[in-house]
Symmetry: D3
Subunit: 250 residues, 6 copies
């Protein structure tokens, strides 16, 4: 079930059976010459959607704009300051707890979000920890889709070279599979982009002229994307089932 | 063009021709027994999408979670505090200005957002107004989709009774047209919901037992939704063209 | 009774009979060549004072500096950022609730405050709505003095032309009636100021050279002001009595 | 000249001759059984008004609600959190600097404001100090009216006993002189209130049962108030003249 | 006992006997040509450490970076904005209250901190005062080390001339006694620095060319420092014992 | 050179040769029955101090209180909320940039700080990235002392079993080497603490009864600590030299 197309009565009924929800979380930022600005929001949304077609689970709305300050040198990028993102996540979690949700699984599509999401978790937990009163149950989990068991292996198999670190062949492939009409043919040079350290937008643009880091996303194809989506969705189904049932891995 | 499926190079190229962008903005909140939680985010997204199929324009990502504190008594509702929403909009606008955008048109789907969006505009403008330096050009416009010229007339024609104020027959119809598989058959009583004043979530739930205000959304149909979408999209095309060309109405 | 000149014991005693308070709220901002910088704070203060002379009611201190960023191009204007105004109103309301006040009626003198006051109400209500605990009773009401029943009709009657939108003949007249020594004779050209869209201070000054919008405030007179004050005060007495007695209009 | 009843053109003209402004700043808080809730805002407003009748100077609007958390146990008290007051003062000063004001003299009526006003000054200065760019001139000065040269001596002379620390005979007298109709006859016991340490509102109410600290304000009279106002106004005229002329005392 | 080198079990055990803690609080800021940047943090830390060697007491970690915006014109100075310092102190106090601490004694080393620490106290108390619920006991006390009974007298005796206001001979001597290897020989001219008003960093550097105010710290010596430390520590032992035992002075 | 015991003139002179500074950053939080509350602040301070004794470098003051909300169930723990820590780091970095520092190396002692420090870096960079103006050079680097090249290998060699994840044998050993008088003999059971997931303080205390995670810190000794300090300091000297010289590793 997708929260966005459900009614409140359907969510009420769902909550009698499960206190869990999956929230795709991403970013709107440049993904090189042939990648989509929405890649990092779309990938977890696509994979979660596929998983939900395999097994009953509740998918929340996508938290689509995240931490992308380093990409602001490239048109179309939209970012929250980390402090704004923390306050936003505080509000999302407070809203969902109000209804009785106890287990929130954030499926993330953007490496640059990880620190701020974890800081937001700590901000939320701090609100609980400052109080001596025992709280309502709460488990917050962050998982990056490319770290779901089995996914990285498949990506390396498909793209032994040039999968890269940003605007990766894999993530572009995932979006091409879901939005084939959005495929773009752009010649890129060098074929595999340079790698380096990330800081602010001015330095980023200087180091990574077309936005890519270490990748050759010209390799991206609908077929590869479909394989990755299938693998990630299966893996997510298993991991989320365990999360939903209250098993907490380290 | 949709920003989410465009590349940064495509946006760069677009900016040589226009400095305008349309951003759908809504809310994730209960919409009565047969309405979708995402109604207010989906309606402007659907209408903007239809408009963009008629004429070249740039549609940004949807700002989907807004001000819905009064609906927190119903499961699935997610809200930002107004102060968080203001900071988020400050960041969105700062990001887009960084790329050279000068004219931002927010197509809104939620009456409860209006005050906070206008407060956010004032917050952004204040940053400019405190400085004696003349700023880069900036025009921020808010329009509610149901106030696009010609739309209210059509809705009254289709639903002479019970269109209502919240969980309206019209908005439910718009979402049904775009997501026909999300239609819900729920019997509601009374047929037309009561009306009243909105304050916090506890009072809201007491006054409006199933979430609707003044509406009979059982009347919603795919056919009606299609008509409303068509009318709103045509109207939007005209209004946005005028906005894009720099004509500023009062 | 005016809170500012009352003692805490008098307020304590008042609270055994009523949980309501009226708070004038305005702005310190340019009001054209012959209008007072304090116009928007003085008007609700004057009208509330007149009403209080007619019937027992409690008038709080005036919240005098509001949202006036767009007027910063004219000397003497003082503004809060909307985010600051929201936090200030949060604190005022928290203070008054601490004493047992349950019904707060804000009589507003400045159109530019409306959005931010409503956003502040939502911020306050959100604090209540996030909690599952039922709150102490709270009703927050915003009314603009020029929208009190019967006032607009009178103003149109007195000023069939050039009452305008900012630095209106009516509001200048109200202040002249209360502060006759502050009347100013300034020739203005054109007689009726232009109208247009409001954004930031730089654009405002360009569009509205002397600060007025659509008005001919040279028409303002003590006599007209007295009539408007009388009408507004009578209307306020009736509306506030209904508010105080717990009747909640839509 | 009072800013509130001046026009922007009058302020524009004033700024060609002086870059200084005096801002009365106070608090709305209990002042014992016979003192006014507005005492701390009214006193500097009254004294500044008297000074302005003696010599040309510019009086800004009164910053009336300040830091009064410790008085929240007594009805009618309204407070800002210190963090809110800091942001408010940041905005006031930014507004006034926008117009070219360079020298701001805050005449304070409330001891509990002193720390937060000074912290606000440091917050404002920090915005300047973090930058390597030399700023526009800015001098911020805080003076408590009861510390104007010659005032304490007079108060001790008039009230050799029981002037006190809060709800003092002197401050009540000042308000009685300006608002004689607001005088209150209340028997207080003990005649001179106890003294002690101030912390939060719960402890305050326990320690100071009727709100007074160390004072016998039953001694307050219109005549005494008139003398204090006269002395304070003369003293202020001298000190402000020196401030306005750019002499900076240590 | 020093909290930093204690275990949580030792603190747990300590709390069965006392609910008090002493927190040294200072600043990292220029202290003239021969003074240490850490002077204001080190002085209270040194004196508290000496006191703790005389009698059992609990010393918390040093709050070392405070309000030093006015010194930013001199290399090495680090400051918090007052608003940041307030939030930090809010968090420190909330943490300590969580464990059952009820009496917090801040031994301060920097005059520029005083206002912001007091504003922070008011911010913390406000959180308590807005609630009608009686709070857990809390006493917050601020003492400047140079105002401990008997200290100023000794300093005047040792340095009849040129102890000064900033980068004082006394404070430099205290740090020299504890960090003799950090002594610096620098010729300063004039021998006694000028005095004047403090505002922002640009004005400060202009007025006080080498950073000192009114002082001749070339007089500082290890011997003098040892005497001051001894006197201050003895005085602190007495004052803190009284604080710990719950006696509250005015 | 240590900034805390240096003068501003010494820092001024240093800045003509290097724009780099190392800042130890840690936490004040429980470290099990025999570990010090200050462990995470002391370890980087100790290691940096040792490195500075080997080669000229500048060590800033220790940022000692960090993100420790999960340890609030154990007495003595002090935490900042992540949002407060971000603002504090924003201020520290703004202060240091004011003096011309361009390269800041944070040597971290607490895993729970990592996310928030990275979020703070992004907050700082965002301030730069929103502007189209090229910034002054800035490189921010975070390194955990236990991840300095060669350190983990040594720790595993010394503690093949039970080094653990929190209150590790290694970190306790480092503090014992520097503060031998703070060694504590406490019997712990089980010998090796359990492992598990970290969330808020209530869950933490339930899962980890004496505070340790996965560790047997009874193994800690001065000798082991000395070895680890020596290895870490040598490694830091090399890594920092490379950082200082402007080489940026990925
Ligand atoms: Ni990506
Ligand atoms: Ni709706
Ligand atoms: Ni007006
Ligand atoms: Ni007073
Ligand atoms: Ni000092
Ligand atoms: Ni540790």
């Amino acid at each position: 079930m997708k929260l966005v197309t459900a009614s409140w009565m359907e969510i009420d009924s769902y909550l009698t059976q499960s206190k869990s929800i999956l929230i795709p979380i991403g970013s709107i930022e440049q993904h090189g010459p042939n990648g989509l600005l929405g890649t990092d929001a779309l990938c977890p949304e696509i994979i979660a959607g596929e998983a939900e077609s395999l097994t009953p689970m509740l998918i929340g709305p996508t938290f689509s704009v995240g931490c992308a300050q380093h990409h602001l040198g490239f048109a179309g990028t939209i970012t929250l300051r980390p402090s704004t993102m923390i306050q936003s996540l505080v509000d999302w979690v407070a809203s969902l707890r109000r209804h009785g949700f106890e287990r929130l699984y954030f499926l993330n599509g953007h490496g640059g979000n990880v620190a701020t999401i974890q800081a937001a978790f700590a901000e939320i937990y701090a609100g609980i920890s400052f109080s001596a009163e025992p709280p309502a149950p709460l488990e917050l989990k962050l998982q990056n889709w490319w770290q779901l068991p089995g996914v990285a292996e498949l990506c390396r198999e498909i793209y032994p070279q040039g999968d890269g670190m940003h605007a990766t062949a894999s993530e572009v492939a995932v979006t091409y599979a879901a939005y084939p009409q959005a495929q773009k043919q752009v010649s890129m040079s060098p074929r595999i982009a340079p790698t380096g350290r990330i800081s602010h937008a001015h330095a980023y643009r200087e180091r990574f002229a077309d936005g890519r880091i270490g990748s050759d996303p010209a390799q991206a194809s609908v077929e590869a994307g479909e394989k990755i989506i299938a693998r990630a969705a299966e893996s997510l189904v298993r991991e989320y089932a365990s999360f939903d049932s209250g098993q907490v891995e380290r």
